[in-house]
Symmetry: C2
Subunit: 352 residues, 2 copies
């Protein structure tokens, strides 16, 4: 056991405050990581406010973790002390079901163990996330981070990155395709970068015309303002794939009209109701698909980190002092961030 | 031009009444068909009541037509006088777009011309459907009907049949798969027959336990009562494909939980809102798909008719006298039909 320091919320209306807790000792398959940077994901706020139910308090959020390895167990083969390492949304799974066997731990049939707001499979202890100084994670759930990446800007790859990379790969986005990324936030800005790096023609679809210039800077070939009926009509029936990153309930029907026959829109942001409701006609005429995707498996997360190193892709981040984390959450709730806050964990003052 | 006799509704609250109108002369590519049987589809009622908007009155419904060829144009190669022929939901399309080129006229990019409640492409005249004594249709939109089929019971194949056959083929349903058919009505009972004939293990999913015995008679291997939480839990995550034939708004989320990872539920009945709304989580956890399918192309409709002749598949029908058609509509609205009404057109009294 080791004493960890971080920030936690103690109930669903409370701010983040300093918090100390125990981490388990590193077992033979574990990697101990000193956390250098921890990204702030919109889902941190959803979970702290118990928007999805099942919140466990105290809660130490954070699942976009970049750090340095400080200890490895006897069976650990892929990491050594001093390596840079990343931890994302999961820290364990059953490892024996069909999904785990196919390296799709995120769809573990017994349910994955999440990095925070979850329960360790062996000990039954709560999991605590990356808004803290160190973490102990089984090696399967740790990825290698290239030294060539800007570490602070690499932190959001562990959630925003893999969440957008995985569906673009699964639905085989590539050259000759017209791909739309809906919503320009933490997920959307990564979707644009990845889809462009994969060779597609990328259209940023946004309600906010002001984001157009930035979308093009990120790599978008074109910008479609979804509130403009003339623009929507001009693009009707033209998209091979849509990556929908909107994190709140919204009307999906206008976006379905943008798809070609037999094409797919994938949801990665919204877990709750699609309201106003989807119309049957929106999928029936043109045999269109609406689907969703959750993060990615560990092998694919490593593939994504390597793809980022190869293509020099990181997130656009605003680095903050952990003492300002509550203000950052307030700004994130208003979409006032381009495009991801990352906590510099060196700013954490450790209690005696 | 030729005088046709049939039944029409004259406004969205009116009953069907006798109606006479002109059919076009048979052009060089046309087939003239004496209508023997005309199926009654639930969408006849939807359109007559203007549930989907755009109703044109007077309206002669009917798009499940079986008849005998009485005249062929000079260019007609596939039909001769005396042949049995079928006409379904479409009588024309642009014939030049990508969809038409792929024999998917139902997804014609210019919009297909429907058998009734639509407008002829050349003349601009309204189209009138199968609740009538004869019809004139371009040869591409007419299918051959085997003499071995029970003609009255073959009529519903032209809509209920192709609507269920096409998605089962498109999503490659076959041996080794567990397929669910949701809703036991005109579409659902055909879905069970086709999925079984294609070699799948078929589960009838219904809210009505009383329909269980009949579902098994139709070919279902098992019956799942969707209102029983224990049964739903026992089948969770086990289906390779779901064919959802429910024709009205309903909660799709419980059905999504029945699908395996990466599996698809296809809507063929409901055009309107899915209310209560679909949850993002219902597709995201397991990368599940919700899609839809509309009837089928003409080549596939012919393939389906041939498949039916080969496997001796027809609909379960209740044949009626056209003078009782309004009562049949009332019963259909209450799901009081097993499983399709078919009008015997010999009962039509022709006005002088």
């Amino acid at each position: 056991m080791s004493l960890a320091h971080g920030y936690a919320v103690h109930d669903q209306t409370a701010p983040l405050v300093p918090f100390s807790f125990e981490r388990r000792a590193a077992g033979p398959d574990d990697v101990r990581i000193e956390i250098l940077f921890s990204g702030i994901c919109h889902s941190d706020l959803h979970q702290a406010r118990d928007d999805w139910g099942g919140a466990k308090f105290p809660m130490v959020p954070g699942h976009e973790i970049i750090g340095r390895v400080t200890e490895v167990g006897a069976n650990v083969t892929g990491f050594k002390v001093g390596d840079f390492a990343g931890v994302g949304c999961m820290v364990d799974s059953c490892r024996h079901c069909a999904a785990c066997d196919e390296d799709l731990e995120q769809y573990c049939e017994k349910g994955a163990t999440y990095t925070y707001n979850s329960t360790e499979r062996d000990s039954g202890q709560p999991t605590f996330g990356g808004y803290s100084d160190h973490i102990v994670v089984e090696q399967r759930f740790v990825v290698k981070v290239s030294e060539t990446l800007d570490l602070k800007a690499a932190a959001p790859l562990l959630c925003a990155g893999i969440t957008t990379y995985s569906p673009l790969r699964h639905w085989k986005v590539g050259p000759g395709q017209k791909v739309g990324v809906i919503g320009l936030g933490g997920l959307g800005h990564m979707g644009v970068k990845f889809a462009k790096a994969m060779g597609a023609t990328v259209v940023m679809i946004t309600t906010t015309p002001e984001k157009g210039a930035d979308a093009k800077r990120l790599g978008a070939d074109e910008v479609l303002v979804s509130r403009d009926p003339a623009q929507m009509k001009a693009h009707a029936g033209s998209f091979d794939f849509l990556l929908n990153t909107i994190p709140v309930s919204h009307d999906t029907n206008p976006y379905m009209s943008l798809l070609k026959r037999d094409a797919t829109m994938c949801l990665v942001g919204v877990l709750t109701e699609l309201d106003p409701p989807l119309m049957g006609a929106s999928v029936m005429f043109g045999r269109k698909h609406i689907t969703g995707s959750a993060i990615g498996g560990m092998a694919e997360t490593q593939e994504m980190m390597d793809f980022c190193a190869e293509h020099n892709i990181v997130s656009d981040v605003e680095v903050i002092d952990i003492k300002t984390v509550n203000e950052a959450w307030e700004r994130m709730a208003k979409n006032d961030v381009r495009y991801r806050f990352v906590i510099d964990m060196a700013t954490l003052e450790k209690a005696a």
